[in-house]
Subunit: 394 residues, 3 copies
């Protein structure tokens, strides 16, 4: 394998160049007006989250920092072009852009979340194959959400967390498991601190993310701020309660601090009382931390390797957020509206559909990624920068 690997690496380069050529040629034919709905401040906030936030959120592995930052950057810039192409296809088919350039960038969050689940376990060709499939699948799923299930643009975009997390987990379940106590699958205080920097970037820009497509932007921002604050505070408390000797665990803080922002996503622009946003933040944090602790002790059989705990950071909190939205609809029926039961069914159906779509396409993708042609990397080479980067000192 070492002798053929350089050739394989070159094929990565040609694949990337080929894709880039395709994008340029296609952009010639699509005389796009994607830039019509182009808002630079929104795009800036989303790109801060993608480039700094997720780029450094993933750098916690001690020997994988170049790949974490570098590949997530590569994936974002390659994926966003793929995503803009899908927007153009959507314009071609339905004469309507789904959500413009900012939306194309926001869709990349699904991809980066999935990367978090399989971090360090795939080579660049597998990664690129995965993101292309995922972007197409996510766009189809959004299209169905919007045109068949009548979800709003904002809500269908918030499924980005659900889709990303469960797609990533499904792919991860098809890859060989790393040995449980791998020396390389660990963090150092320094890499944890860098990862905390990434988390803080995500945390600070999350209100922007939740408000880009929202109807009432100011309310969405305010509610998201509240939920994020409460969920981060709760993270500290629960982390100390869960760990053996009452110390804080950085992984808990990282996951649960963001959980509130994920949960509040769906309803950020419709919640009218601050206390509801705060309560959702608290519960999201609890679900994230307790869920991680319960699932690992109660259901070890269900466990798939989840490198960055994306299930507990994005998956479960998003499920909970979707549930909370259903409850809010049900409560509205009892009080004001006589017959929005159709809306209730849809608000149950949309997330269920998204999760199913993510799991099914994820499993299929995972099977494809194991093809010999794609040269899946052996378990002994997991989590190593040295495979892909010139390093002059360890």
């Amino acid at each position: 394998m070492p002798s053929t690997y350089p050739n394989f690496r070159h094929s990565v380069a040609w694949l990337i160049l080929l894709m880039e050529a395709v994008f340029i040629v296609l952009s010639y034919f699509f005389a796009s007006d994607v830039d019509a709905g182009f808002s630079y401040p929104d795009l800036q906030a989303v790109s801060h989250m993608l480039v700094f936030g997720f780029g450094f959120f993933l750098t916690f592995l001690k020997r994988y920092s170049f790949s974490s930052t570098g590949f997530s950057f590569l994936i974002v810039i390659l994926g966003v072009q793929c995503s803009i192409l899908m927007e153009n296809v959507s314009v071609l088919l339905t004469e309507q852009s789904l959500s413009g350039t900012s939306g194309a960038a926001m869709s990349m969050v699904a991809v980066v979340i999935s990367i978090g689940a399989v971090l360090g376990k795939m080579n660049p060709i597998q990664t690129i194959a995965m993101i292309v499939v995922e972007i197409v699948a996510f766009y189809v799923s959004r299209w169905i959400n919007i045109y068949l299930l009548q979800a709003s643009g904002h809500v269908s975009m918030m499924h980005v967390h659900l889709f990303g997390a469960y797609f990533g987990l499904a792919v991860s379940s098809r890859l060989s498991e790393p040995p449980p106590r791998s020396e390389k699958n660990a963090s150092t205080p320094r890499s944890d601190l860098l990862s905390m920097l990434g988390t803080l970037f995500l945390w600070v820009f999350w209100p922007s993310f939740n408000s880009v497509l929202a109807m009432e932007r100011n309310r969405a921002i305010f509610n998201t701020c509240l939920a994020l604050a409460v969920s981060a505070v709760t993270a500290f408390a629960l982390s100390a309660l869960i760990t053996k000797d009452g110390k804080f665990r950085m992984t808990h803080i990282r996951s649960a601090a963001l959980a509130g922002g994920v949960t509040i996503g769906y309803a950020a622009d419709s919640i009218e009382h601050p206390w509801i946003a705060m309560l959702l933040g608290l519960l999201a944090s609890a679900i994230s931390i307790l869920g991680s602790s319960c699932l690992q002790t109660c259901l070890p059989t269900l466990k798939t390797h989840d490198a960055s705990a994306v299930h507990f950071t994005f998956g479960l909190p998003a499920v909970f957020g979707a549930l909370a939205e259903v409850v809010s609809y049900v409560m509205k029926i009892q009080t004001t509206l006589p017959s929005i039961s159709y809306e209730v069914i849809l608000s149950v159906g949309a997330p269920c559909f998204t999760i199913s779509a993510a799991l099914i396409t994820g499993l299929i993708t995972g099977l494809i990624l194991n093809f010999k042609l794609l040269k899946p990397i052996p378990v002994s080479k997991y989590f190593e920068d040295q495979m892909y980067w010139e390093l002059f000192e360890a």
Copy 2:
């Protein structure tokens, strides 16, 4: 003590959860319109300063980086809720919000400055107790400044540096002194660089901070930029003059680069000539560096341990800024206005009152924090992440 410490840590968790429950319940009763004066760009700038700026400004200790970043994050998000509550109380009592959500976030600067003075010397329960007392005290002091001393909202907010620095120093004077040459109370080049990153975040966003509540925002921004630039340049020059063999000292640069922004705070929106702003920046830097050098040699008896040199970064420059404002009033009397002597007296009185209030409440808080019940940490355990965080490698 080791055997009882886990129990103690759990009580931290319950305390945090209890506070969070109180905040949620109270937010139910206060049907708040705090979000009326809610400006997201302002809030973003302030949260960048608090989360990135102060979070990393404090990471210079070699074994305390998790706690520096993590606890300052915890304190900001817990404190800002406390602060919003105080805004609501203010609305209840006076039917007027002091300064809205952005103001609530800006008040947190006082807290984070105080944390800088006692960094590494208090356990989380002491820290939480301190910030709650400090926020209440700061709000009462602002209330008196605004309603009794007729200070403007902007000026009363600029007292945040004065209050934070002297409150922190007063608390610090009541805590046991760390041994003078503690191996742990030191920085490494790497932690210093991270701290420089934090300082640069503060430096870049300082003009936003000085302009949030200012009347003439553009002038406040322009003057602050000038003062910051000159004070940072001067910092390099004076650092080389002060140190033994003419080398630059990172601590000097960090302190003095920010001193100009602190000093110009009061008058940023009223200074009409750029040269005045530049001169204030130069003098602020000089006061910060020479003050630190003089006080340590001339008045060693007055010295209290000041972990992050907050006295020279925020305290002295703020005093100088207040003095400069008095001088500007006095000069106006001589030239244009016949009888604003009342204003002069107030501009002397307000900072004096704020400093006294900070020192008195700080001393009382310091005494309370030494109660056995709060389990003050022994000097040998100062400056150690290991006390509070799960660390897998040193």
Copy 3:
């Protein structure tokens, strides 16, 4: 030398103080209205690029991180005052500001690029001397570009990359060459990662930079985003093709990711089809990486030491961007306009003039910097923080 060096260091301090005094006195006489065209968001974006972007872009040397970040900060804040002064001189002479405060800050990019070429090889006095000469030369060159060659404010500002790179290279060619395999002239994975953080800051804020003085800001932003994305993707592909065993090299990614933004600068606001912007990004990246590989093998005689590869990051891509603009004019002649041949000549002449001016003034400056009076540092002391900073641990 060690015995006299502290005295020399003190003279750095006095030089800085003297300059600061001159700036303050002159700002008293220039009753400036520079702040008329003052846009804080623009200034923020540029200062993010200068302080975080370039500050950390240059921190890749293993023992020079304090100086990289610290001195580039010093140079920016000292230089921007010098630059504002030149704006004022320009107002005095022509009754018109060249580009206001934001433009003064943007001009600093030339200086920081030049610093990149000579990184670690000059003492602070040489550095300060260099930047003062460079700022004056760049302003004169812009003045000639605008008033004699009729270039627009935007285009003349985009020459900042050309001027910075070739001025820096010319200066560097006059300094003694460091030994080819110096142990200190190397990076560690950690310093490379920090440098990547700086690069990402530059990358994210580049669209703002290209649009500050552009006529059609939204188009400039959109085209720059496209070019940057394509050039970063191409960087990964070409890096894997060029290196011996198909691995990615961080230096390639850093250089080529930015090349697209540099190239598109000139025409960002006039390109009408996204595919042109994307193609320019791809070619810029290719020129950056292939150029670096070709020049080092084909023309070793031409090679001057270029510490941060500024020739391939900023120089060549800017030349290519200027060429692309000429081509676009030529094509316009063939299609729509009968006689803009004068414009073609100017669009050839302006960059040629800028490069010549940069090379000539750079060579002269390099000669001056070798004067004994300025105490050029010996080769053995290159790339060392210890010369200028108090370090308590290596």
